[in-house]
């Protein structure tokens, strides 16, 4: 069981979180969901294989969480999703090492492609 990749999903919107988890599980990965960046930092000491995170969240935004992880030396691929994409946000998160930045709503195929690319790239390193 240890070789099933775990995908961490961080989103303050419960519906988005659950549907993403369902999608991830439907293709055979394991999903663990968190309602905020703080929630993730508190509960997940082990690095997931990949993380899907929302940009706009209260208290701690997605890119703030990313900065905290980089600071702590935790390196795993991160996929950003946002309901209000702007070039500024996209450039910022990609520059900080995000694997990709998707706009909501995004088709499932796109999400899965990103996810697999991210994990393949990370495994190759």
């Amino acid at each position: 069981m240890a070789n099933i990749p775990v995908i961490a999903i961080v989103d303050d919107d419960e519906a988005v979180r659950t549907s993403l988890a369902s999608l991830v599980r439907s293709i055979g990965y394991e999903a663990s969901t968190y309602e905020s960046g703080i929630d993730f930092l508190n509960r997940q000491s082990e690095d997931p294989s990949c993380m899907i995170v929302d940009v706009q969240m209260p208290v701690m935004t997605g890119d703030e969480l990313q900065a905290r992880l980089v600071e702590a030396g935790r390196r795993f691929p991160i996929i950003f999703m946002t309901a209000f994409p702007t070039d500024a946000v996209r450039q910022r998160v990609l520059a900080a090492g995000a694997h990709c930045c998707l706009s909501k709503p995004t088709g499932g195929d796109e999400i899965i492609r990103c996810l697999e690319e991210a994990m393949a790239g990370h495994a190759a390193q």
Binding site: S22, M81, S103, G108
Partner: protein, 624 residues
């Protein structure tokens, strides 16, 4: 010697002569000595005394003769008595004549006493021989004290020119006039106007000097105060940073008198611009201070000394008000206007013009003028900043609204799409996981509902009633909106005509929201006309519609709106602008409907568009 003493000695002497005449055997005209008694009596200068003495002496002479010689013989003693009587008579006559002359002189001297000037007579050495009553009163020295003293020493006279030069003039012309300073007995310094006249003796030799002196101390002080006041005024005039114009309105007064319409001077002036124009050229400029010269770009005052007409533009409006105030005799008039500088620049100014109320004051009308160019400039900058801010906040509001719409709506959409994809994948597995599929379909349904609720909430938010329900005057809102767009319109070279009917009823609502609707319509109008060659005019009208509602219309001379676009114009996100968001008119309509009004548009393609805003008027409190 007193009058009584003189009478006494006169009587005593007469009696002594009588005794000698009767008791001594002297053969001679002893009675002649009676003349001495008469002369003594004459010293009193009283006519009665002379007559009494003369009568008594004559009686005593006759009595002595009768006692000594009886009445029987007429001989040499009788002749001597007659001679004595003749001497008495002649002496009496001469004494009486002398008395009359003395009385005449005394009367003349009294006349000198009546004078309001100080008069004294002195000889060439300065020794005083006559001193009138006014001199006594003014200098504080009595005649007895002054007579015999040297005038210049007594009065400590100070001359403004050398004493010997004065003396020379006096000898040559017989007169001298000039100003001197003298001191009274109490040490008070007096300003004196002196007039000297030289008196000659019968040989033409200079004798005495008659000095007539007028105390002009008060006059000099009043004059000095006046000079000082004049200097102070002059200093204010020259040093003030406020422009001052001294004008003569005598001609204006005369022209007003000529038209003779005192009953309705206001009406006359308002309906006769020709007269007002004429009055402008009749108001002459007498003087201008350096501050005003600088303000108008003149290097010297003479360039400005014409009529006020030269300082005003053709369309100047406040002169009429000043003229009405002048005609009504009001003391001043204030206002704001523009002056025309020598180089043609228009200078915005605040002014006060003062009309002296005393008669003959028309020649001394003063106008005080303050240059408010800087103030105007900063006021314009402030208005521009306000307009920019209003525009920016308008854009920001719309931007924020779209951001939050995007975020709110995209969240459920994202959940729906992702759930759908997940469902498909659960179905396509070798062993479809139907419970997972049921779960995602349930989520799709609930998220679909959530999205629709969000849309409903946004609509409700946009349609909500205005927060403020104030009583508002449309004229005020119109003028504020016009101020806010002033710069934007001038940037596009668009002129704005405002026609607001007076006495429009009030409306109820939110001042800022309605002002923003007008700002929006005005900016749309200006943008519609940008880069067009035809006249760019926006007309903003406020009037009462036939229905009794308030009608505000914004009409432009732009290209108009395509007929096909008209029905969709107020739809959200509909725009004909390159970079428009399509929210402006939608929000305007929502705002107007929130106020119980309507916003409509009418357009003839190629001939501009007219937006009409109809608002119900506020219900007045009516008594049952």
């Amino acid at each position: 010697m007193s009058r009584f003493g003189l009478r006494f000695f006169s009587a005593l002497l007469a009696f002594a002569v009588f005794l000698v005449d009767v008791l001594t055997p002297l053969e001679g005209a002893v009675a002649v000595l009676y003349v001495v008694a008469i002369l003594l009596a004459a010293k009193t200068t009283h006519r009665e005394d002379i007559l009494v003495a003369a009568t008594c002496c004559a009686i005593l002479t006759i009595a002595a003769y009768v006692l000594s010689h009886g009445l029987s013989s007429i001989s040499s003693p009788a002749l001597r008595a007659a001679v004595s009587l003749a001497a008495i008579a002649i002496t009496t006559m001469l004494a009486l004549q002398n008395q009359a002359a003395t009385m005449r002189l005394a009367a003349q001297a009294r006349l000198l006493d009546l004078s309001h000037d100080m008069i004294f007579v002195r000889d060439r050495r300065g020794i005083i021989s006559f001193w009138n009553r006014c001199a006594e009163e003014t200098y504080g020295w009595s005649a007895d004290e002054a007579i015999g003293r040297v005038a210049d020493e007594l009065l400590q006279t100070a001359y403004s020119e050398p004493r010997n030069a004065i003396e020379k003039i006096l000898i040559e012309s017989g007169r001298w006039e000039g100003a001197v300073k003298q001191r009274t007995r109490d040490g008070v310094l007096l300003d004196i106007e002196a007039r000297w006249a030289l008196q000659y003796d019968h040989l033409g030799k200079p004798l005495d000097v008659l000095e007539t002196l007028t105390d002009v101390t008060d006059r000099e002080q009043a004059h000095a105060a006046l000079v000082q006041s004049e200097r102070r005024y002059r200093r204010m005039f020259d040093a003030s940073r406020i422009g001052i114009v001294e004008e003569d309105w005598t001609g204006v007064r005369a022209a007003l008198r000529d038209v003779n319409v005192e009953a309705d001077i206001d009406g006359y002036l308002r309906s006769n611009p020709d007269f007002v124009r004429k009055a402008r050229s009749l108001a002459r400029i007498k003087d201008v201070n350096p501050a005003l010269q600088k303000m108008l770009g003149a290097t010297n005052r003479s360039a400005l000394l014409a009529s006020v007409n030269d300082l005003m533009s053709e369309s100047e409006r406040t002169f009429l008000g000043a003229l009405v105030a002048f005609a009504h005799g009001e003391p001043f008039y204030e206002g704001e206007t523009e002056l025309v500088a020598l180089d043609g620049r228009r200078i915005p100014v605040l002014f006060t013009i003062t009309f002296p109320t005393e008669p003959e004051g028309d020649g001394n009308v003063l106008a005080f003028v303050v240059d408010i160019t800087e103030r105007k400039r900063s006021q314009n900058a402030l208005l521009a900043a306000q307009a920019e801010l209003a525009h920016a906040s308008r854009v920001a509001t719309i931007g924020e609204l779209t951001a939050s719409i995007a975020h709110e709506v995209n969240q459920p959409l994202a959940a729906i799409v992702t759930s759908g994809e997940a469902g498909l994948r659960w179905l396509r597995r070798d062993v479809p996981q139907l419970d997972e599929v049921a779960s995602v379909i349930g989520r799709i349904v609930s998220e679909g509902r959530r999205a629709s609720e969000i849309v409903t909430r946004i609509r409700a938010f946009l349609k909500k009633k205005p927060a403020e329900q104030d009583m508002l005057g449309i004229a005020e809102i119109v003028s504020e909106a016009a101020t806010l767009v002033e710069r934007e319109l001038s940037k596009e070279d668009v002129s704005l005509n405002i026609e607001v009917r007076p006495d429009l009823p009030q409306i109820r609502g939110d001042r800022i929201q309605l002002q923003q609707v007008l700002v929006n319509l005005l900016i749309n109008a200006a943008q519609a006309m940008a880069h067009r060659s035809w006249p760019r005019i926006v007309t903003l009208r406020a009037e009462l519609a036939e229905s009794g509602d308030l009608l505000v219309s914004v009409q432009d001379t732009g290209p108009g709106i395509e007929a096909a676009d008209v029905p969709r114009l107020f739809e959200p996100f509909f725009t004909t602008k390159q970079d428009g968001m399509g929210m402006g008119l939608a929000i305007c309509q929502t705002t107007v409907e929130g106020h119980g009004g309507r916003l409509t548009v009418e357009s003839v393609p190629g001939a501009g568009a007219t937006f009409r805003l109809t608002m119900p008027v506020a219900q007045r409190q009516t008594k049952p």
